[in-house]
């Protein structure tokens, strides 16, 4: 087990290192001059522009040698300093991100957990009969193929505009300020529901299909046949098949995190939900490089952490890893 965690940790650390490096590298090696970009938006006369250029170059440390910039970046990172946002000047990037993260977690965690559980149960259920299978499977595939944003837009339109039941933007009503009251909580939930539903539905499709395939595979395994030969009721056979089929689904969850994060970003954009996804869009549109960098870092850290949590969960669930045999392949 130590070996298992050791390997995982080293990969995560390597990835983190790489991610931070890329994050730092890209703005500096891209064509074009970010400062020039920034300045060209402001209508300045030539002299003022020059003065401001040297000012910003110094402020962003672009006048230092490359390696020093790199080291400074790491240093600042460990001090929780991700720079100052230009779009939301003068708020530090870290604060902007920390304000947005709760909304992401509020959307993501229920969406991931519920869709995973429900999807797996449903997939196992669908594998029972041929007829059920034939009707359920296409639905699952269509759901997985649906682009997140489109589902979000459809839901927003159908329930928000046409039926007028749910609001389609913001985290809570614009007329309210955060306050612990039932009306506020109600408003929060109302604004939360549609983005949550968009994410849930698409994820659900994917899990259902995966589980259905795994269950069929497990039901055809030798141990299932042996149980049947010894007269075990179908319930027991299915129970064993389900427990074995769930294991790769856990690993699958870790692998899907990138996709899930993407979906989250998109859905937030559609519903103007103030999470990191929405911030990214705003940052891009306003060319706030520090904010973009910060968002990227946060995403990476979040994903690495989630991966780690899932690895721990896997060890707890698959007895083979605890006994020193690796339960996962590759």
């Amino acid at each position: 087990m130590k070996r298992y965690f050791g390997r995982k940790l080293s990969i995560y650390l390597l990835t983190f290192f790489l991610a931070v490096t890329i994050d730092w590298m890209i703005p500096r090696f891209m064509p074009g001059d970010p400062i020039q970009n920034m300045l060209s938006r402001a209508a300045l006369n030539a002299n003022a522009a020059e003065v401001l250029y040297t000012y910003y170059a110094h402020a962003f440390e672009l006048d230092l040698p490359i390696w020093q910039q790199y080291l400074n970046f790491w240093y600042a990172l460990f001090h929780g300093d991700l720079g100052i946002s230009t779009y939301l000047f003068p708020t530090p990037v870290t604060k902007v991100l920390m304000d947005a993260v709760p909304y992401d977690l509020f959307l993501l965690i229920p969406a991931i957990l519920l869709s995973w559980f429900a999807g797996n149960k449903f997939g196992a259920f669908a594998a029972r009969t041929k007829r059920l299978d034939n009707t359920v499977l296409p639905v699952g595939y269509i759901l997985t193929a649906t682009p997140y944003m489109w589902l979000g837009i459809l839901l927003a339109w159908a329930f928000g505009i046409v039926l007028g039941v749910f609001p389609i933007s913001g985290a809570y009503s614009y007329t309210m300020a955060p306050y612990l009251s039932w009306t506020f909580i109600g408003s929060v939930l109302k604004h939360w529901f549609l983005p949550f539903a968009s994410l849930f539905l698409v994820f659900f499709g994917g899990w259902a299909i995966g589980m259905r395939n795994m269950i069929i595979y497990e039901l055809e395994a030798d141990y299932s046949h042996y149980l049947e030969a010894l007269g075990a009721p179908r319930k027991l056979v299915r129970k064993y098949a389900f427990r074995n089929a769930v294991l790769p689904q856990i690993t699958g969850l870790a692998l899907q995190l990138g996709v899930i994060v993407t979906g989250n970003i998109v859905v937030e954009v559609v519903f103007s939900y103030p999470g990191i996804g929405y911030l990214i869009l705003a940052a891009i549109q306003n060319q706030d490089y520090f904010l973009i960098q910060g968002c990227f870092l946060f995403l990476i850290i979040g994903i690495l952490l989630a991966n780690f949590v899932i690895d721990i969960a896997y060890v707890l669930v698959d007895p083979r890893t605890r006994r020193g045999m690796t339960g996962e392949t590759a």
Partner: protein, 285 residues
């Protein structure tokens, strides 16, 4: 004699498999539409051709946008980039994945360990975040660049699958025989292992194709797509940006998303069908 029989067997089942047939028909339909569509319309995608915000009518089949552009024109012009990204991005992803997977699976040892680490690292970093950062800094972007980037980040899935398959195949007897007889490794890979992997490669390509389309649409939607031209993702972005939702202009955002869901869905269904064709255990009785 045996190889010929195998090919015919696959063709026999392939032509009869419902999922494969339906999926293929849907994809081909859109492909034809992409090719022929521009000829069905007199307008240019971004031209202002008529009254704004019109619902579908006999004159404007898919209605008009808030600027009076013809939605149908945008739609058919936007189909082509989807296929372009699918082929270039998906193809590149499959190619890289195939190479990495083959080499890692066949060589084993240190080479495998190293490639494994690379694959895992790229897997963990969400491709999208990477594309985000890169695209944000490029001021001019085209479809081809977008496709290439997608291909460069989407290959780990295929690499893993191909590697696992290569592993299991290279330990089989007929490969050992080839090795014993002194065949060069490269020849072994191409003549003994690859034909057995054709099914995996085809399926991997289909998945990459669909995946590439989805990623490209997402990028376009956020505003990181190509700076010129029109695509289905861009259509949806404009729709949301310019108030199609509160104005209830469903004809603007429903068709592009529906087309993508249909194409990608059809591809996934085709994939399941292919799996049944290649894997006799799954075939319906």
């Amino acid at each position: 004699m045996k190889k010929r029989k195998k090919k015919n067997e696959f063709l026999y089942f392939a032509l009869r498999n419902n999922k494969l047939r339906i999926g293929l028909i849907v994809v081909l339909f859109f492909l034809v539409l992409a090719a022929v569509g521009p000829m069905l319309t007199d307008y240019a995608p971004r031209a202002y051709v008529g009254p704004a915000a019109q619902p579908p009518s006999s004159e404007y089949w898919f209605g008009t946008t808030t600027f009076g552009q013809d939605v149908f024109t945008q739609f058919v012009y936007g189909l082509f980039p989807a296929f372009l990204v699918g082929i270039v991005g998906g193809g590149l992803g499959t190619l890289i994945g195939m190479l990495v997977g083959f080499i890692a699976g066949y060589r084993g040892g240190l080479v495998d360990e190293f490639l494994n680490v690379v694959t895992n690292v790229i897997l963990v970093i969400p491709a999208f975040a990477l594309l985000l950062i890169i695209a944000a800094y490029l001021t001019v972007r085209g479809f081809v660049v977008e496709s290439v980037f997608i291909g460069l980040t989407a290959w780990p899935w295929t690499a893993r699958a191909i590697r696992a398959q290569t592993f299991s195949l290279s330990s089989r007897d007929f490969v050992d025989l080839a090795r014993l007889s002194g065949m060069k490794p490269r020849k072994i890979i191409f003549t003994e292992i690859a034909p057995n992997m054709m099914s995996y490669l085809v399926m991997a390509f289909i998945l990459q194709f669909g995946g590439a389309i989805l990623i490209a649409t997402t990028l376009d939607f956020i505003g990181l797509g190509p700076t010129t031209g029109i695509s289905l993702g861009l259509m949806m972005q404009y729709a949301v940006l310019w108030g199609a939702l509160p104005l209830g202009m469903w004809w603007w955002f429903v068709p592009p998303g529906a087309a993508i869901a249909a194409i990608v869905g059809a591809l996934y269904v085709m994939n399941v069908g292919l799996d049944e064709v290649f894997n006799p255990k799954l075939r319906e009785m």
